[in-house]
Symmetry: C2
Subunit: 284 residues, 2 copies
């Protein structure tokens, strides 16, 4: 795998950073994950816009223009060859003596990699198991920070219970999954928690909302209580890498009839159609 | 500066980790900071015990025995020469393909460094300014995790207001400083918040409590409300690197009479005496 690090393309085995990099020492950085379909980077402007918001959230200037990002990422995708990839990029506050204070003269560290992704529609169609966990994360989850230890430990709680995802509850309301946003369907209406400092503004989340609106499917940004989650007809999680995944069991109990629901089928197909159009250059 | 990385001692400029290290990618690791006085490592057993608790908190086995840690850290201190140092050590979950799931076969990354520390009693005696900030951190602050971005951003809020430390309030109660524990004095009684998942069990904090008890100074583990903080006769912050520091202004208003208080003077001297005894091999 060829990766990008601070201006160079190089084999991942040679890509190393100083032990004093604030990414390594403090988790002081932000990231993005962007799908690549048919060699094209999906919704890059949306991701770069969110990147800017994350950088602003940690008071770090973007070390490259959007145009330069596009050039670098497109070259990275090309060098890694395959049609469908998952592109990852990370910016940290750079290398400095270990002190909480922002360093005065550090250059941000810029890292990007892209890994091939196999289509896994079959997996998705079976649905997944999720468990609920208490949301123990910080209060600025709108920043896509690399300091993901809390998410990792919550995801681990799901794995330990034989589940694939943890759905987080803060004060008995749904925030998001350990690595996804959450949707439910209640009496034919699609609901997802409104954007706030307590959850990441997902690019896939936004696309799902867009697809609902464009196809006259009732969809609302609305707080989801634990009670609503547990009695939902359908639950989905969304993320750039996993797209839209139906949750068929929650804490061991079937969601709806225990099968992926009809609105999930509909959105899944709309999403696949959108992807196909994108592959052919007919969508952003 | 000579550092330790995965079994080797090497110059810091050569100490590099893979971009896939989970410390760099996820903030998935823990750390300790340990003072060295007169070439002796201060309260090492306490720090190694806390290290084990942090590792347990993130489900990672300690890659070295306490005996091995002692050998490595003592060699590091010796190689770095000076009498007083600040020793830093960090363990991450190692190098693996980027996935939230714990890797099956990664070796933890072990890093340690030690930097000379000049005595700065004069600075301390002047006292510092602190501001209050909302505690935005996660709920497992008892784990000394490297994912410190929230602390860094809160410390930044203090710096932007011309202060030296941020004192964090969660639901109107004091938790800790951005990089310290907090004590107040109220009518001659020393108070510090009880240990919980919301704050780090500081080694210096514990020593201050010990010194109070050993010297018949009334001292209690007790929740401190915002109101109590604002009307305190004295406020101190404690940490391994800064020892006991009096806060003389809080959010711009003087604390007590705006000078370091008498109980701070007393504890400061008791702490310095303890350190001197330690330097001479007469204390742990």
């Amino acid at each position: 795998m060829t990766v990008y690090l601070n201006g160079s393309f190089l084999p991942v085995a040679e890509a190393k950073v100083s032990v004093l990099d604030r990414g390594f020492i403090f988790g002081d950085g932000i990231y993005e994950v962007i799908p690549v379909y048919g060699g094209r980077i999906f919704r890059l402007p949306h991701h770069l816009e969110r990147l800017d918001l994350s950088l602003e959230g940690i008071h770090l200037a973007n070390p490259m223009t959007h145009g330069k990002w596009q050039t670098v990422l497109e070259e990275l995708v090309e060098r890694n060859g395959s049609s469908d990839q998952s592109l990852y990029l990370q910016i940290t506050r750079g290398v400095a003596i270990r002190e909480h204070d922002f360093p005065h003269d550090a250059e941000p560290t810029v890292f990007a990699m892209s890994t091939p992704v196999a289509p896994r529609t079959a997996d998705i169609a079976a649905g997944i198991n999720a468990v609920t966990v208490e949301d123990i994360r910080w209060k600025w989850c709108h920043i896509k920070a690399i300091a993901l230890l809390p998410n990792i430990l919550m995801h681990r709680q799901a794995v330990e219970q034989g589940a694939d995802e943890a759905i987080m509850l803060r004060d008995h309301f749904v925030t998001e999954g350990a690595a996804s946003n959450v949707f439910i369907v209640n009496n034919g209406v699609v609901l997802t928690p409104p954007k706030s400092n307590l959850l990441l503004p997902g690019i896939t989340r936004d696309l799902v909302v867009e697809l609902c609106h464009a196809n006259a499917i009732p969809c609302k940004d609305e707080a989801i209580s634990e009670q609503q989650l547990r009695s939902a007809d359908e639950i989905w999680i969304t993320s750039s890498t996993r797209e839209i995944v139906p949750v068929v069991r929650l804490d061991g109990a079937p969601v709806g009839n225990g099968q992926p629901g009809s609105l999930w089928h509909r959105l899944h197909h709309l999403y696949q159609d959108y992807k196909q159009a994108f592959r052919k250059g007919r969508a952003d």
